[in-house]
Subunit: 133 residues, 4 copies
């Protein structure tokens, strides 16, 4: 599973002293974007070429709180690929601590310039992990 | 279904020209908080009395984009109540337009001062809508 | 001074239990956008007509903290107009409490479709308050 | 000048296709927090020891837009130290490009457990850069 690192800032926390629940979706976005870069791709270039991957569904399970200054690992993998959708799975932990803080998924449509469903680029479709196939 | 109003600001949008997917969870929070107030309660007072309702699960389905300056209705209702959890359902539309832009759910644990599961206050448990019972 | 209302949500606070400092700039944006609407205008329509008002400078003085569930009044006025810039002043208070929590300013350039400085529309230039002239 | 790195995510941009103006204050916070860590300190530990550094003033000048996927360097230094306040200066550039995108400052009060002004810890006071003295 690919892992992106993120440091929790004050602005990510809420008055309960933990990361605000919506901010995990920001971490997920960072992770899938870095997963693309780690495979030589770039979401920016994909958009420039006329493909978009808007989120159509997101889920999140909050298992334990992340806190200010925690250094988080946002694990992500492509868990499912269909001809026109892409599903990512996520798992958030702290560096050096296997406790899972949060898991989640996002499902993305693949749309072309006309806003109609389009085929995923080959290199993206191949990101699907062996375990997930 | 109770409805809170929110105006989409620039800061809620992303470069695709639509509301960024994480921000719906902010709208959901606003709506459930106003639902409490509409019933004479207040999440702040509940916390002051030692009860917390941390989110343990959130889901979101993005059906159509909301855009800058849209005036949104964030419909919400308590869709399920167990002894120690509370589930909200959400439905986002534009004022004057029945098109559903987004639906979602959040599941909350009810925790007491010691961090252990606690009973929901009676007035909260009663928020469960007839349709949902 | 025109006043927009905003309810502080959990997502606006940080672990110090107060509104996170960057979020006041979101409130400022909401207020100036509503000031436009209160005068029959709309920033969305202005953009559609080819004019943009990007922020070139922002300042904020934090005098007293705003807290969760506070209902805030975001006062705003056009404090200065030059041929190609527009300056807003802001003042944040709680409903029913004259204590000033925060003051601020934003300076905006007026740019046309080509990205070059453009003249402010007449109706915007007229927003300048008597006190400010 | 100490430099923190940050990758611009979709959630940081707005519909103009650039980083939303409030988000630079988030970047500033990340940078000053990493500056502390780079000197063996930690804002979390400082808070645990009873000292807080709330922001009392922030300014930002937006010179050129940062965009999605840009890798930004958030330069920061302690530009001024008084007995009970601390001022940071900031300068945002892209990796490998000297163009200054944004500059800013934040002024912080140093408060003790009772909320009264307190002396800055020695190691923080010493962060003041030679150029700034």
């Amino acid at each position: 599973m690919f892992e992106a690192r993120v440091r929790v800032i004050y602005g990510d926390t809420d008055q309960m002293g933990v990361v605000y629940y919506a901010n995990y979706l920001r971490y997920f976005e960072l992770a899938r974007s870095e997963l693309f870069r780690a495979h030589g791709g770039s979401y920016r270039e994909m958009e420039a070429s006329g493909l978009m991957l808007p989120v159509v569904e997101a889920t999140c399970r909050y298992l334990a709180p992340a806190r200010y200054e925690d250094e988080l690992l946002i694990g992500t993998e492509v868990s499912e690929v269909s001809r026109v959708t892409l599903t990512f799975g996520y798992r958030v932990t702290r560096v050096g601590d296997p406790t899972i803080l949060c898991t989640g998924t996002t499902v993305h449509a693949c749309l072309g310039k006309n806003g109609r469903p389009a085929r995923l680029p080959e290199w993206v479709a191949r990101l699907s992990t062996p375990a997930a196939r």
